[in-house]
Amino acid sequence: MTAPRLDAKDAAMLEQTWRDPPGLIGWFSAINHKTMSLRFMITTFVFFVLGGLLALAIRLQLAGPDGKIVGADLYSQLFTMHGSTMMFLFAVPVMQAVATYLVPLMIGARSVAFPRMNAFAYWIFTLGGIMLFVAFFLNVGPDAGWFAYVPLSSLQYSPTKRVDIWAQMITFTEMAGLMEAIVLITTILKMRAPGMTLNRMPLFVWAILATSFMVLFSMPAVMLGSTALITDRLVNTQFFNPLKGGDALLWQHLFWFFGHPEVYMIFIPPLGFISSIVATFARRPIVGYPAMVLSVVATAFLAFGLWVHHMFATNLPELGKTFFTAASLMIAIPTALQIFCWIATLWTGRLNLRTPMLFVLAFFVILLAGGLTGLMLASVSLDTQLHDSHFVVAHLHYVLMGGAVFPLFGAFYYWFPKFTGRMLSESLGRWNFWLFFIGFNLTFFPMHVLGLQGMPRRVYTYPAAMEWGSLNFAATVGSFMIAVSVLLFIVNVLRSRRHGVPAGNDPWGAGTLEWSIASPPPAGNFEMVPVVHARDPLWEPKRLPSHVTGLANDYREILVTSVADAELDHRLWLPSSSLAPFVTALATTVLFVGSIFTPWAVVWAAVPVAAGATWWFWPKKDIVEQRTGSEISPYDVEVES
């Protein structure tokens, strides 16, 4: 049975309705979730490349003893910029960027909820990232480490604007992150196609839901902390000044109450990538769906009980530390459970070893190594020895690169055909993969040994007598292999988007809804919104009713369903494209950047922000009048349950 389709005229109207407006102003007015997501992905990828170039500079400097390429001051900026860029401008946002593309497609929705806020979040994020790099090129790049510990980051020890730039970069990126979380939670809970109960939701969507809730409860901590830091520096508040009753450890608590969950905000979405990829390339549904869902949710909860393990080297009570050791060991359980479920899936499936799958298999190896060094660091005594050494650098790169970047590359290979309609080249993909895998291990494995030998983090050079030269040289060679591999990826993307093999709707034979529509998807995603009867709708026999009818083609009308069971509830009109989110984001940027130089910017720049937000909200008369005739009040109908 073929799916019912709209006739050509209606389909054209639907396309016209959801399309972004043309022209330059139209470009800045775009709010379609796919447009914004692609821009978001490209922007985060640019930051990934910039962060990577900073890392290459670090590796060049450390390649041999007594390196002379950069001085201590620039080196401090390099590692701070590298860490801040990778964490705040790449790892967390790229997951949200991918999610805002895929979630609506996976749940059978025509848009994200709050599309204008989604656009605003993108602009705020991008402008914040631009501010950081402009500052860096003006020699005011942050230099107090990516976690900006006080007292080093206090005005006394960092008297220039560098730390202020860092603190405002936090404000920009966390504000964007929080808004994306709101967008994603609401989309997932209220906009699933009828029949897609929570129990039928793809595991990727579950991962994004859990991550977004973590964002809600963790990002406020770093925003509060960085606000206290910047007011300490600009208007002489005393939060972190021990002479006036302040406390330096308060910063560490606020930072890590965010910072540890952040690791899982980076790591949980890739669990969703992996579940999608493993199911498709094992050609069977994931084993133990309920266990997988519960593991993701358990990980999200436990992640909030770990933050003190970053503070084992402080004078906190020893009894308290043992609690955090226990929690740090415990969080390995749900992760292990998921890994066993994937292994069972692969074991009982028929394996199809394509590039996305290679990246996932690398995840197993690298994350396992990173997880095991994590268990080592969870022990207070061992941590006290290894704290602030290159062992920690090795550990965190094994966890973050293995846990997030490898699956992310796998995800790009997997969903690129959906984004562009063309396949990435497999042979370049294999070069990309093997150079990355070997280069990664060559770079970071030696750092374990260097750390055990006592090489600290954040030193800009070391004397030859320490005998750390050869391992460091190996690491530098490895880092250039990674660079070449990323370059190959870029070549692959640029070539394949024009000349790749046409993908069709479902090149991998996958089971979830995004593969039921054209590649790239039409502006309104689904010509007809599907009705869902199973977890992997494309792998199950078709059942009736198969699709929804009665949604408008001439307005941006969406279907709102109930939270748990996705039963029909009401129709809703989403806003049209608008320049207001972009303009409001510009005004907000003036406020944030201005406040670095004068606290009064918060007052006077609030005026254009409020004006922009009001313009954004204010409905257009002609659009409203078109629609009011066809309104149906909730009191006029009894909704069938």
């Binding site: 019912p4 909820a113 709050f114 979380a181 709101i182 939670i185 609401t186 809970l189 209220k190 809600l216 409860f217 406020p220 901590a221 509060l224 606000t227 206290a228 007011t231 208007v235 002489n236 508040t237 005393q238 939060f239 006036k244 009753g245 302040g246 406390d247 308060l250 608590h253 606020l254 009736l544 009713p545 198969s546 699709h547 929804v548 009818t549 009665g550 279907l559 709102v560 109930s562 029909l568 009401h570 129709r571 809703l572 009109w573 009001t614 909200f617 204010w618 409905p619 257009k620 008369k621 409203v624 009048e625 629609r627 309104e631 149906i632 009040s633 909730p634 006029d636 109908v637 909704v639």
Partner: protein
């Protein structure tokens, strides 16, 4: 319509699920706007909770609390708590009117809400004047001002939101989902009021008990 035609009609129903009779807006947790607002409430509550925890964290490390000087005067803070709590009454009626799609009463009660907003913003200025500490005096002063500034920001932004919405309810263009906006705006207002109660307790009584 013949029986045969009816049967055919039914078959079509089986293939396609017709949603054209569904309402075009809904109140409460049926509405995405409710979920967006609740997420915002979760974020803001976390900010307040962390600021309160920071207050007690600093207090636990301090020899004397307040570190220097006097606790805030009770008068204006307590008066304003009364006003803020009382604002829930017009707010309740505005929400109820919105959910009954009663435009006249929405206009009336939102206007009353705006008057109350002017009152508590004015008294808030007096509160700041009688805190008996400055943000730069010591860590106690910093956290007290932080809590006050955070909550005052909410008062100002929510008063402004409500103002824009009130004007819209008078001038239009109106459609059904604007009643949902009024209802959700009132829901958020409850949060701004209810979050003040623990903050009031901390600022005014945390420095005394």
């Amino acid at each position: 319509m013949s029986t045969l035609e009816k049967e055919k009609e039914k078959d079509k129903d089986k293939v396609l699920l017709d949603v054209s009779k569904l309402p075009t807006f809904g109140f409460g947790h049926r509405s995405p706007m409710w979920w967006g607002t609740m997420c915002l409430v979760a974020i803001e509550s976390t900010v307040f909770a962390l600021a309160i925890m920071s207050y007690f964290y600093l207090r636990s490390h301090a020899g004397a609390w307040p570190m220097s000087g006097l606790p805030p005067d009770l008068v204006w803070g307590t008066v304003n708590t009364g006003i803020i709590v009382a604002s829930m009454i017009p707010n309740h009626f505005a929400k109820r009117a919105a959910e009954r799609l009663d435009l006249k009463k929405v206009r009336l009660w939102m206007s009353v809400c705006m008057l109350v907003s002017v009152a508590f913003l004015a008294v808030r200025v007096l509160e700041f004047k009688t805190l008996n500490t400055h943000w730069d005096s010591d860590a106690y002063g910093s956290i007290v001002w932080m809590l006050m500034a955070l909550h005052t920001t909410h008062l100002i932004t929510d008063a402004y939101d409500s103002l824009v919405l009130t004007v819209l309810m008078f001038t239009g263009p109106l459609e059904g989902k604007r009643f949902v906006d009024v209802s959700e705006n009132a829901g958020y207002w409850y949060f701004v009021v209810l979050s003040w109660i623990p903050i009031y307790a901390v600022i005014y009584w945390g420095a005394r008990l």
